[in-house]
Symmetry: C2
Subunit: 119 residues, 2 copies
């Protein structure tokens, strides 16, 4: 036999109004949030953001040898950043002979842009 042991009701609130309106919940699906966060993370480095900017403004495909002198970093570091952007699906590349050409994947940033758009 056991007493109906009442646990702490956790309803102890200061007398005044409650802290806020009942309940709030996110209306961005978790999967969408993960995808958008992945895009944002890829843009979360000044060099990568400028890289995307250059590739966007320069409509066609841009050779890596053009990108290297634009930034004050070693070539392997630039290659690393380009790979990050590629892994995030923001840019893609194409090899022609010795050179590699990078370009922005159309609409890749659309989810994030759209979400940021509706202020």
């Amino acid at each position: 036999m056991s007493v109906d042991l009442e646990l702490t009701p956790k309803t102890k609130r200061p007398k005044g109004e409650p802290c806020c309106e009942p309940i709030v919940y996110p209306d961005v699906e978790r999967a969408d949030a993960i995808r958008m966060a992945q895009l944002a993370k890829a843009l979360g480095d000044p060099i990568r953001l400028q890289l995307v900017d250059v590739l966007r403004k320069h409509a066609g495909k841009v050779c890596v040898c053009e990108l290297v002198p634009l930034f004050d970093i070693a070539q392997p570091t630039l290659s690393h950043h380009l790979k990050k952007l590629r892994d995030a699906g923001i840019v893609d590349s194409e090899r022609r002979g010795l050179w590699a050409y990078y370009y922005v994947v159309p609409e890749a940033l659309a989810p994030l842009a759209g979400w940021l758009g509706d202020a």
Copy 2:
């Protein structure tokens, strides 16, 4: 006396066309890139992105005690994420008694939204 020693001209290129059009340079200022990257970095975590989403949709200020049960993380972790967003200038907080209320800083995301906007 010394010979005008000619260093490697670095102009050795395959016969065909050059790798691409002359020169490309970023037209996003470095300072702007740093700022936007900072914003993007703060959004580069699914929980923080959902946090901003909740705060945005819920026009007023939202109590932390409402936010905690929405995510499957410990309270210190949530507090850490809120601090990250505050440091980035995306949200701000206000204490009332025991509770802390968070809200999105208007136009804080405008730079990034604007840049992403002009596709």
